[in-house]
């Protein structure tokens, strides 16, 4: 087990380095001058050549790419992530202020996806191809097709129209103002949670239907246990392994999906910051945020692999 974790972590570190190289070079092939993004096309033409060179040097953009890259990695290692082109707040402060909100959204949505998805899967698997099964399958397929951010916009609109209600727009931390915080977080969490619940329900259903064919499940039924007990106590634990894997992957996708969803709700989280950075072509913020998301994604995958290996010894000893 120990060896397995070390191996996964080593490979994860390798991936993170590769990821940082990819992000850096993808974002630096940006056509167009970053100075145009900062000063606007009009302000840019007013700059003299010397000014331009001065600003480029100040931003560290006139060094060779390799030097810039090493510089950036050094900054990350020291924990200073630089500044936005447009805002006084440093990227590190922004992550500290906005990150928890997005983290809460992600965690609540995962919890919600299990709370909704697993019972639905059990109901489906109890009587496959029955009316109820077909309905739940259709609803889950429907939820795979609904874009989360659109669903979010509809929720915002509906609550405004019918209840005259809108979640507070200013950020509120969980500790200082839990009630406001909950109101901000709950909308995106529900939208993202239901989206994941559809995947979870589908995966859990097919996994359950496979496990149900095993001998020990037949034994449990032969003992006279009722269908619900057989499925939820005997079949479910073994059927959950692929669901856990999927849920971990989905958690990573929720972090990405929260970008448009937070935009739809106007949630002041990290996803919204990403949206602002994208629309302002703010390369420095973009680069650091994409890197952060990628690192979290890699870590999540490792966490899932380790959890699965812990639960299932067959994988550990491969």
């Amino acid at each position: 087990m120990y060896h397995y974790i070390v191996r996964r972590l080593g490979f994860g570190a390798f991936t993170v380095i590769g990821v940082s190289i990819v992000i850096f070079f993808v974002l630096r092939v940006l056509p167009g001058d970053p100075l145009v993004a900062i000063f606007g096309p009009e302000g840019f033409t007013k700059l003299s050549d010397a000014d331009r060179a001065g600003y480029m040097a100040q931003l560290g953009l006139s060094d060779p790419l390799i030097v810039q890259y090493l510089h950036w990695i050094g900054d990350i290692a020291r924990g200073s992530l630089g500044h936005s082109f447009f805002r006084a707040e440093s990227v590190a402060d922004m992550i500290e202020r906005r990150g928890p909100l997005t983290g809460e959204i992600a965690l609540i949505s995962v919890a919600l996806s299990w709370i909704v998805g697993i019972p639905v899967a059990i109901i489906s698997a109890l009587r496959p191809n029955s009316f109820g099964d077909n309905i739940t399958r259709f609803v889950s397929i429907l939820f795979l097709a609904v874009p989360g951010f659109w669903f979010g916009m509809l929720i915002v609109l509906a609550s405004l129209f019918w209840f005259g209600y809108r979640a507070p727009l200013a950020g509120a931390s969980l500790l200082a103002n839990p009630w406001d915080n909950l109101q901000i977080v709950i909308g995106p969490a529900v939208v993202l949670g239901l989206g994941q619940a559809a995947y979870i329900a589908r995966m859990a259903r097919s996994s359950l239907l496979e496990v149900i064919r095993e001998d020990y499940v037949r034994t449990a039924r032969a003992k006279g246990l009722n269908g619900f007990r057989v499925i939820s106590l005997h079949a479910l634990p073994n059927a959950l392994l692929p669901v856990i894997t999927l849920s971990g992957i989905l958690l990573g996708f929720v972090l990405a999906g929260s970008i448009p969803v937070e935009r739809a709700f106007g949630t002041p989280g990290l996803g919204y910051a990403m949206f602002t950075a994208v629309s302002e072509r703010d390369v420095f913020v973009m680069q650091n945020l994409v890197f952060l998301y990628a690192v979290v994604f890699v870590m999540l995958n490792i966490a899932v692999d380790v959890t699965i290996a812990w639960l299932d010894p067959r994988i550990r000893y491969q």
Binding site: T15, G18, V19, V22, I23, V26, L27, V29, L30, P31, G32, I141, L142, L144, A145, V146, P147, F149, W150, F151, M153, L154, L157, L160, F161, S206, P242, G252, F253, L255, A256, G257, I259, P260, R263, A264, G266, M274, F275, V278, S279, R281, M286, V290, Y293, A294, F297, V298, N301
Partner: protein, 310 residues
């Protein structure tokens, strides 16, 4: 060089019974028959397939169907709710929402089909090659695919679309790149299992070249999983395209796309008019649903074992 005429009269040389040309073996009949069996075995999927086809037709014939020009402003009807002349209402500068939704299907479908054609196909061919050759090439390919998969696909697409600048081509490339790993993984897994089959070994024993082995003996078996992947990913690509448009890194306005229509609806103020939100989103949902259910049907019929893999 001309092909010599048939040597002699076959009837006189080989007095065998002539087999009457079976009419049902023509391509048209075969396609018709398999379509019919598709309808019989998966009626629901066939129904959604018809809807998908209708959406494609709508995109192709948009100038004929759309009641108004999608870009023309009618300044007497600005931000009007759905009513007689404009059945889906008008946006903040008086453009007809119905026409824009109809034209929006063009962008969505072009991007989705383009992304799947490039991304899923390239990924599948890559998976075919890396599964077939194995060894060092396979290991390197696997690492590259794992790198690509260490970004959530929306973020990767955003970064690429942002780096390459706005435009339909860049959006296609950005989404296509996120599709490559899926093709690579699924097809590689299929190829790995095919490689052990005895008919493949027999072909190798007969001295078939690598190219021939891949093209004649392995590729045909990959078509079913490829089709399943492609239809599933059409839906995913449409959602990513809409998200990119919504975040302002997709196809730039004024070209109407469902994503940038939803983004535009937020421009007027804090509260977007409901008809500008409802209709483009319904179009996205309906299209994705149609392709997904069609894909489900194809999967059930072509290869029930793949239910879990894709």
């Amino acid at each position: 060089m001309t092909v010599p005429e048939a040597i002699g009269e076959p009837e006189t040389l080989y007095p065998i019974e002539r087999i009457p040309a079976a009419p049902e073996t023509t391509l048209r009949h075969r396609v018709g028959r398999s379509l019919l069996s598709f309808v019989r075995r998966a009626p629901l999927s066939a129904f959604w397939g018809c809807i998908a086809a209708a959406i494609v037709v709508m995109a192709l014939t948009a100038p004929l169907i759309a009641p108004y020009e999608p870009l023309k402003s009618d300044f007497r009807h600005m931000t009007k709710p759905p009513a007689a002349p404009h059945y889906f209402g008008t946006d903040q500068i008086g453009r007809d929402t119905l026409s824009r939704v109809i034209y929006g299907s063009r962008a969505s479908l072009t991007v989705a089909i383009g992304a799947v054609l490039f991304g899923t196909t390239l990924g599948s061919l890559w998976g075919l090659a890396s599964g077939y050759f194995g060894g060092r090439f396979d290991i390197v390919s696997q690492r590259i695919i794992e790198f690509l998969q260490s970004f959530p696909d929306l973020i990767l697409a955003m970064a690429i679309a942002m780096a390459l600048g706005a435009g339909i081509g860049t959006v296609i490339v950005a989404i296509a790149i996120t599709r490559i790993p899926f093709g690579g993984r699924v097809i590689r897994a299929v190829v790995l299992s095919l490689k052990e089959m005895s008919y493949v070994e027999a072909a190798r024993g007969l001295g078939a070249s690598h190219l021939r082995m891949m093209a004649r003996h392995i590729l045909p078996q990959c078509i079913a999983p490829y089709l399943i992947l492609a239809t599933t990913h059409l839906g995913v690509a449409i959602i990513i395209e809409a998200s990119l448009g919504f975040l302002g890194v997709g196809i730039p306005p004024p070209t109407p796309t469902w994503g940038n229509m939803l983004a535009d609806s937020l421009n007027g103020g804090l509260v977007p008019p409901w008809w500008l939100v409802l209709f483009p989103g319904c179009a996205i949902t309906l299209t994705v649903l149609a392709f997904n259910l069609l894909g489900d049907g194809i999967r059930d019929i072509l290869d029930p074992r793949l239910r879990r893999a894709v």
